[in-house]
Subunit: 349 residues, 2 copies
C-alpha cells in the first residue's frame, strides 16, 4: 500500500509509492520512460486482457466487457499511486514525522481506441464522450467518505511524464484536499472577503475586456493565457459563468467544454507541432471547504521548459515567453485550416 | 527589465523574463538546451571575453581580470532573470493583477577552469574555494536594501535544466522572500511555538538515532535522505548544530561543509552514474523574518523522474523510491574506492 508522508516543516505531503517503487540500482540508467510500440499497446483493441478488468466503458450494444467494441474505457491503474479505496488511513507519528496509508483510487481512462490520435485530433463527439466519462467516474466515487478530492489529469508526451503513448487520462481519488487546490480555495475566499466578488469571475470580465490574452471562446467557455503564466503557452479553460462544480455541467455545457478543450489542444498541436503538456481539472472538493465560492477550471501546462534549481528552490517560476505574445500566437492558429491541410495531405492520392 | 507578476489567487509570483524571452515560433522545436562543446565554452580559460566582465575572481597573483589564471570566477548572467540591482520596484495594479519590476542580481559562479569536472570530482580544496565564493558573493549584496533574499542554486545535466556543460552555480538576489523559504520559516516558527524546539534540530537528533536515512556525516554536517523525500535520492546537507545563517560559517565549518557537499555529490556521481540534479541553499533572508529560528541547509534533488500532471495539479509529489532504500544505497557507495578505481583506469599504461 502506498504511504503518505508529511514534511514536518512545510506540512506538504508526499506519496511514497511502494507498489511502483523501483530498486535503487535501476535508477542508474536515469529516467527511462517506456513508451510501448503500437503492436504491444495494452490500450488498443484486442489487448484488453493486458489491463486490469475495466470498471466502466462506453461500448457498442452487446459487446462483452474487456473485449473490443468500446469507445471510452476505464481501468484501474496496474501500479496505483493510491489504493485501495477502503480501509483505515491509520494516521501515525513516526518520531517527529506524520504518515498515513495512501488509500484511494487511481484509474486510467483510455480516450478512444485510436493509438495515434489525441483529443486535439479526435472528432468533437469523441471528446464529448471523454468529458462525459470524466464526470461519470468523478461521480462514481463521490459517496466514498474516504475520498476528499478527485484530481483528473492528462500527461501528453514523454517530456510531460507519460509512460504510454496511447492517449489517456488518469483519475486520482485521494484522502486529502491537495495543497494547490486548497491554496486556490483559500485565495478565492480571501479575495471574496476583500472585494465581495469571485476572483475568477473578475479575471474573466477583465480578460474579455482587455482581449490581449484571449485565445478562444464559445458560448460558455473561455480559453486564455493567465496574466502570471508559469510556463510558455500556459492556457486555462474556464466556464464564463460562475460554477463551483465541474461535475454539475449540463449536456450543453459539456458540449461547449469539449469544444473549448479540443480547440485549445488543437491550437497547441498545430501551432507548436504537438508539444508535450500536462493538464488537470481544479474543481471543488467532494465535500468540505468551498461552499460554492470556488470557480472550477482546467489548466494546460505545455512542457517546453524545465523547472530547474531556481524554480524548485524558490517556488517562483521563470517564464521565458510573454503571455500576451503566446496568446496572440495561439489565437491566430486556425484549427479548421490546419485540419483541412492535414486532411488534404492524408487523402492525397 | 524582467517583470514580476503575481497570481491573484495563490499570490504566487512569476518572473516574466523579457530579456530571455523567445519569440513564440521558436518554441515549435520544443525545449532544446544548448550545451556548447568544449572549444566554444565561454567558461573555459581563454574565453573570458565571451562573458560579461567578471565581478569577482580568485586569481593567481598578477593575472589581470577577464584573462586566464583564475580558480573561481563570477560574472553577471548574460540574460538575467532579475536585474538591474537598483531602481524602483514600481509595484502596480493591472486590472485585478499586481506586478512589479524584476529588479535584482543574477550572477554565474564558474566552479573551476575544468570543463569536465563537477564538484563531485574536483579536489576538496577547490570545493572549499567554491563555498568561500558563495559566501563572498552572498555577503557582497547583503547591504543592498532592495534585495530580500539570495538563492544560490546549481543545475547539473540537461534534464535538470542546465544550459552550459561547464560546472557552475547561479546566484539570484531577488526583491522578495521566495514562497518556499517563507513556508519553511513559517513551519519552523509553528513547530517552535508548539514544541519549544527547532524542527530541524529535532529531525537531526531523530535521524542520527534512527540511522536508516543517514548517508554521511562528518564533525559538523549531516547528509541524509528526508523522511518525506519528494524525489528518488533526495539528499540534504545540514549543519548538526543550530545555525540560522549560511554565511556565518567559520573557516573550519566551510571545510566540513565542502567535504559533506562533495561527498554527497560524489556518492550520487559514482553510485548513479552522474545523474542530473538540482541543488539550492535555503538560509535566512537578508533581513526580515527569521530571528535566528531558521536552520539553514542545502537540498539536492536528483532529476530521475518527471513531475507530471498529478504533481503539478496537486502539489503532492509521487516518489517511486523508498527514502530508506535510497539512503542505504548511497551510504554503501565508497567515494574513496570509486576514486581509486577511476584513478587506476586513468593512469593505467
Amino acid at each position: 500500500m502506498p504511504e503518505l508522508r508529511q514534511d514536518p516543516v512545510t506540512l506538504n505531503w508526499v506519496s511514497i509509492a511502494v507498489e511502483r517503487a523501483k530498486r535503487p540500482h535501476t535508477f542508474t540508467q536515469a529516467a527511462k520512460v517506456v513508451v510501448k510500440a503500437l503492436e504491444e499497446c495494452p490500450f488498443c483493441y484486442g489487448h484488453e486482457s493486458e489491463t486490469p478488468k475495466e470498471v466502466m466503458a462506453y461500448r457498442s450494444p452487446g459487446s462483452p466487457p474487456d473485449s473490443p467494441g468500446w469507445k471510452v474505457r476505464i481501468v484501474p491503474n496496474l501500479f496505483p499511486a493510491f489504493g485501495p479505496p477502503t480501509g483505515d488511513l491509520n494516521p501515525r507519528r513516526v518520531g517527529p514525522y506524520t504518515a498515513m496509508n495512501g488509500l484511494g483510487v487511481h484509474e486510467v481512462l483510455i480516450d478512444s481506441p485510436e493509438h495515434y490520435r489525441s483529443l486535439a485530433q479526435l472528432p468533437l463527439e469523441q471528446v464529448e464522450l471523454v468529458v462525459r466519462a470524466y464526470i461519470d467516474r468523478y461521480i462514481a466515487h463521490k459517496d466514498n467518505e474516504l475520498l476528499k478530492y478527485m484530481l483528473i489529469i492528462v500527461n501528453h508526451g514523454k517530456e510531460a511524464g507519460t509512460s504510454r503513448e496511447h492517449p489517456h487520462a488518469q483519475l486520482f481519488g485521494i484522502p486529502l484536499v491537495p495543497k494547490h487546490v486548497a491554496e486556490e480555495i483559500e485565495g478565492t475566499k480571501r479575495y471574496r472577503n476583500e472585494n465581495g466578488t469571485c476572483v475568477y469571475c473578475d479575471i474573466i470580465a477583465y480578460e474579455m475586456e482587455a482581449k490581449e490574452r484571449l485565445i478562444y471562446e464559445n458560448d460558455t467557455f473561455l480559453v486564455f493565457a493567465p496574466y502570471a503564466s508559469r510556463v510558455p503557452f500556459e492556457c486555462w479553460v474556464i466556464p464564463k459563468v460562475h460554477s463551483a462544480h465541474f461535475e454539475a455541467m449540463t449536456g450543453r455545457e459539456q458540449h461547449f467544454f469539449a469544444d473549448a478543450l479540443r480547440t485549445a489542444l488543437a491550437k497547441l498541436f498545430y501551432g507548436l507541432n504537438d508539444p508535450p503538456f500536462n493538464y488537470f481539472i481544479h474543481t471543488s472538493p467532494y465535500r468540505d471547504g468551498a461552499d460554492g465560492t470556488y470557480h472550477w477550471h482546467l489548466e494546460i501546462l505545455p512542457k517546453l521548459s524545465i523547472a530547474a534549481g531556481f524554480e524548485l528552490g524558490s517556488g517562483i517560476m521563470i517564464n521565458t515567453a510573454l503571455p500576451e505574445a503566446a496568446a496572440e500566437f495561439l489565437r491566430r492558429v486556425s484549427v479548421e485550416e490546419a485540419e483541412r491541410v492535414r486532411q488534404g495531405v492524408l487523402t492525397r492520392p
